[in-house]
Symmetry: C2
């Protein structure tokens, strides 16, 4: 397995391999790999001749009062994980390698000032900018993103479409702890009691999904009241948002229809957790069908 910190060195290696028509799968991460990332690597390995994993904590996507400085790191362990899964190259650049000087142009993401976009101003501008840079460097055939960051998936899918990149964006389902908590690098920043209650995030999402099914309640206002009531009863963290929206449209609906996401963000003392459930809703022969 190759480890590159230099963009030109990685590009030479890629060029050599591309000349043999090798397909490139790409897993962009901020490191501190967990089983969620491993699911991305697994799928990438399955579907491509070569897999590139990048590990880069991108300062551009962190707000001033966010956790850039305390974002967890463990490069040695990440290298072991990558080796285990058969990754062909790790790209692990410094901030200076990625941003030797201020960018001449960055992305302004539009119509994304909802959910995390509303709560983290500039976050998706930074994500779009670094992902387009990374796509330019790696030029993958396929890139793998986890659905825990559902809004990020929506942003990147639109970016790839609008800028006509020949890259398939592959959505990978959220991986969870045994108790249901979505795997996240930030979980290590939870206190013991926060960690103990955090599984209620997903439990509540599932409960509300089932309540929609049982009650046939498609009124999103009512659903959100139910969701918020349950979450605030069960969780000590601050509710950043708890909303029902279309996915990947992210549009607000008065009445639930077709592709639905229930999304939640909770602020704890040193970690902000997000989670969601996404499902397809369909009336069929008078019966309600939910899948995914």
């Amino acid at each position: 397995m190759k480890i590159f910190t230099s963009i030109p060195a990685l590009k030479i290696w890629l060029k050599d391999n591309k000349s043999n028509n090798a397909s490139i799968g790409y897993v962009p991460t901020m490191g501190f790999l967990h089983e969620g990332h491993e699911a991305l690597l697994n799928k990438a390995i399955e579907e491509n001749d070569l897999v590139v994993l990048s590990i880069f904590v991108n300062p551009l996507q962190f707000g001033e009062n966010e956790d850039f400085d305390r974002y967890p790191k463990n490069i040695e362990k990440d290298i072991e994980v990558a080796k285990k899964y058969g990754v062909d190259a790790i790209f692990h650049p410094s901030v200076h390698e990625m941003y030797p000087s201020e960018m001449s142009a960055t992305f302004k993401v539009h119509h994304m000032d909802v959910l995390c976009g509303a709560k983290r101003p500039g976050h998706f501008d930074g994500v779009a900018t670094v992902v387009m840079k990374l796509f330019g460097i790696v030029t993958p055939d396929r890139a793998y993103f986890g659905l825990k960051d559902a809004q990020q998936v929506a942003v990147i899918e639109r970016l790839v479409k609008d800028y006509h990149l020949n890259i398939d964006i592959v959505r990978v389902p959220t991986v969870r702890e045994n108790d249901g908590l979505a795997k996240s690098s930030r979980n290590v920043n939870l206190t013991k009691s926060e960690r103990a209650e955090a599984p209620y995030i997903y439990k509540t999402l599932l409960e509300v999904k089932n309540w929609i099914l049982d009650e046939r309640c498609y009124d999103t206002d009512k659903i959100e009241v139910k969701l918020k009531t349950l979450l605030s009863k069960r969780l000590s963290g601050n509710l950043d948002y708890a909303e029902v929206r279309g996915f990947p449209s992210l549009k607000k609906m008065k009445t639930l229809s077709s592709d639905v996401m229930i999304a939640v963000a909770i602020k704890y003392s040193k970690a902000r957790l997000i989670d969601n459930v996404i499902f397809h809703l369909e009336e069929k022969e008078g019966k309600l069908c939910i899948d995914k």
Copy 2:
């Protein structure tokens, strides 16, 4: 010669040709082709297996009170010119084909609020956005840009570098009428008397360049006073700017050094003209050398 109005059709044609390892030269234009564009086509034909010419008047790069609606068009003549030069494919999309819905993300260009960037707010954001889209569609090996739009060249060179695109940006010198006026699609929007005096733009640029050489005056303040005095004496149009800057740095200098651009923009009743001279300045063995 193929003519494409559809992005997917062009992409299929490109894919077929790329699979034969054909190198692609690309000349992006807004149409109404003149000898300046022909110089771009000529160079592209010389250096590549296949040449794609795009003709698209991009609404995103025009300000509200600018000349988008009256930008000159003559697609039949453009097709004849393209055929004459041996262009392989014209890409001539509608606005709807390029922007079927509002872009999910556009570029914000930084540190370019000088020269045309200061006078045309948002112009280079629109240029960067459409050029990155077009590069995504055409995926050329080389792309050709005229030095009349020197700031545009600087913007695009930085964009390609910052987003790691494997595209060579080829600078092509300005082509001029016999009387020295820089070829421009907008020249047809000059009145007779404006057209008669317009050659003084370039004459003055040359005169100031020679004056710098003769007087060994490197003080940019003094040079700009000289330039503005001459231009306002000779031209009835409004001076939008007349400045001495580094190129491609576009930085203001107190004292001239190395790569210099003298750039001018004049506003006439229905056309805004820009022009520049770019040269390399060097003290060698006590003697001043200017080339380019």
